[in-house]
Assembly symmetry: C2
Homo-oligomer: 418 residues x 2
């Protein structure tokens, strides 16, 4: 039996999961592991530290290694490592969503040039099988819509805020204590992580490259417990939703932002660190995939799945996995967020002058913004009114203009509504 040899770059949470999950495969051997610190204590029984190296060349340029698995994350040096590994004849398995979103094109082109594959099932929605199904069994479909919860940290925070009525800051603190959020949470809470994922996911779904700089991004740091409460009263949950729409004119609308979703919606009951991806296409209709978006073992499941698919193919042919190759050539025309049409939830504090509701109504009407819900609660002690508005579908540019004109009101929140 031929043994296939793996070089691992990174032995953090995901790397450790991959190491453990690969132990049961007799034809797979981990040859070398690149780490920063050889002496760090590892959570692996009977670990053979002679596998470790601090020199990436021991993996990248190792002639015995068939597949390089990159699980360090970040653009650099991960990108350089992967490029050199490809040039040295290795197939690549990576969990690096940021690198794919930022440098995907050049890396995939390089891989094609060298007849190598880059697989990345673990990069998007962790343990959920998504990339391989989309590129193989679903390949005959025209997918036109993606609605997803792709970041477990923010979904955990929003779920805690909703269930316990606590503030964003408190929920973040709890998430950090439980290891669901990092000490510097920016990448998650400001929506970067979800943005990287929806960028690559939309590229695969729409079969056209999506430029990261054209993807609109907004995080969850401004969502207040009051918004959670009001959303609930109106029959909604607030989720950080990653959206991809391919319009009939062929233009793509790709974005990440908080959103009010109806309680009966398939996104609404996805709680805590669970991820979900709902795809809509023809002829398949609507398909939803739900599971663990992160974590040592779910992520390892996807990395290992990629590895064994490469190996099973290598047993038969060198021209492996034709459907898993990247063959996008065109860039998608993109729709700017200002030109999109949405419904909006507005939470407004107004000084209780006579006619303030009328004024809001007039400013909106001038831009053809219809209001579907208006709630004004009794005056607060400081003689201001708490007004909640939900609009009908209108243009983003119009609502932004309207807000600028509402100078006598304080706009506490503006959140899009599905």
């Amino acid at each position: 039996m031929r043994k296939f040899k793996i070089g691992l770059i990174g032995l953090g949470t995901v790397g450790t999961g991959v190491y453990k999950a690969l132990q049961k495969f007799n034809d797979i051997e981990i040859e070398k592991i690149v780490v920063k610190n050889i002496n760090k204590k590892r959570d692996i029984e009977n670990f053979d530290t002679s596998l470790l190296t601090t020199n990436a060349d021991d993996v990248i340029k190792n002639p015995d290694i068939d597949i390089v698995v990159e699980v360090i994350g970040g653009v650099s040096p991960a990108g350089e490592y992967i490029a050199q590994a490809i040039e040295n004849g290795k197939h690549i398995v990576t969990a690096n969503k940021e690198l794919l979103a930022k440098k995907g094109e050049e890396l995939f082109n390089l891989a094609e040039k060298h007849n190598k594959v880059i697989l990345y099932e673990a990069a998007i929605a962790g343990g959920i099988p998504l990339i391989m199904p989309m590129k193989t069994i679903m390949a005959g479909n025209d997918i036109t819509k993606i609605r997803a919860i792709l970041n477990g940290t923010t979904n955990y925070i929003l779920t805690k805020m909703d269930n316990d009525g606590i503030s964003y800051e408190q929920a973040l603190k709890e998430a950090q204590e439980l290891g669901y959020a990092e000490t510097n949470p920016t990448g998650d809470v400001e929506g970067y992580d979800a943005m990287y994922k929806i960028t690559t996911l939309s590229t695969i779904a729409f079969k056209k490259r999506i430029k990261l700089e054209n993807v609109y991004r907004e995080g969850i740091t401004k969502v207040r417990p009051e918004d959670m409460r009001k959303a609930n009263e109106l029959g909604y949950k607030i989720k950080l939703v990653a959206l991809g729409n391919l319009n009939e004119d062929g233009r793509a609308d790709v974005r990440v932002h908080p959103m009010l979703v109806k309680k009966g919606d398939s996104l609404a009951h996805i709680d805590y660190v669970t991820n979900t991806v709902c795809l809509e296409g023809f002829p398949m209709g609507k398909i939803a995939f739900t599971g663990a978006g992160a974590g040592e073992f779910p992520t390892a499941s996807s990395v290992v799945g990629d590895i064994i698919n490469i190996i099973e193919e290598l047993k038969h042919t060198d021209d492996i996995l034709p459907m898993m190759r990247c063959n996008h050539v065109e860039y998608a025309d993109m729709i700017d967020i200002k030109d999109t049409y949405n419904r909006y939830y507005l939470s407004i504090t107004a000084s209780n002058k006579v006619g303030v509701i009328g004024m809001i109504g007039n400013v909106c009407a001038k831009r053809n913004i219809s209001l579907s819900t208006i709630l004004q609660k009794g005056l607060s002690q400081d003689n201001t009114a708490d007004i909640t508005i939900v609009t009908e579908v209108c243009k983003e540019a119009d609502i932004q203009e309207a807000i600028k004109e509402l100078t006598e009101c304080k706009i506490d929140s503006l959140i899009r509504v599905e």
Copy 2:
């Protein structure tokens, strides 16, 4: 560009969907279609009736055809057609769950002997990508649990009964009028369809063959509106659940029956004709797939997915899709339903003798059956009591024995509880 030629056996709902969905592929051509009635009106624009034949040999033995797509269903003649097509060098795509469950082993063995593949994504959960993901990207997992809603007809009926408070018979009639149930609904409502599907699904998941005759099956025809109402009061929904469990001792427990599932459970909110499959395994954790389980286009999506995967491989090698082959050799040891442990919902009509609850309690206690809920509603006009019981986990054989002993009571319903 090489053209790949398809022979279609069957041009009903699924076949028509496949025909339409294949039109956009320039390298795929439908060469011949076997039908019963050439003169039947087809729901296809500008249809070329010269494609039709009533002689299956025109497809099976046609040297120009690369792939035979079987969408007529049933064991015979579909099984003979597929066997002959394989012997004549064709790859097979089928949507035939009954055939796979009953004759899978011999057909897969035959296919291996001739180095051909049989793909069947459409056979289980229609448009939901499941078989290919399980056999490829999820292949490194040990899957130990399947919980699924696999039959749209029964799920539609149960949803209607639940939402509208109507009887099984009324809901069935509505389903038939809408085309969701057949004139003879037995295959769906008695659980056969779901049984075929869970049999094949468990075989793939557990990597051991499941014998159809060892799969327990119970349909939905005895579920009453009163059970729906009571289940709701207790915080449950009633669903026809297909279950597969691989126990730690390596024995499999595979079955289909109505079940009370908690309202928060991921199966509970799957309504009408939607299907869902929840898989649990290591290292992946829990993954749920949700989508259309039937219908012209969703099913066609899966058939077309199988076709284009075969074609993309044929462009590179004859030794195609190694991971999609069937390599099960062992049969699973199975657990008889009598030896399974479950919770039970019981609806009992008792003549209102003093001590009837005590008697029920004693009969259960004798067999170590603990009762977690007992509800007795006020006497009805005929002086009988309506008693609802939910047990703790106990052995199926014990509850069946207990029921036999409750001679003074009428057992209106016995439904397992998750």
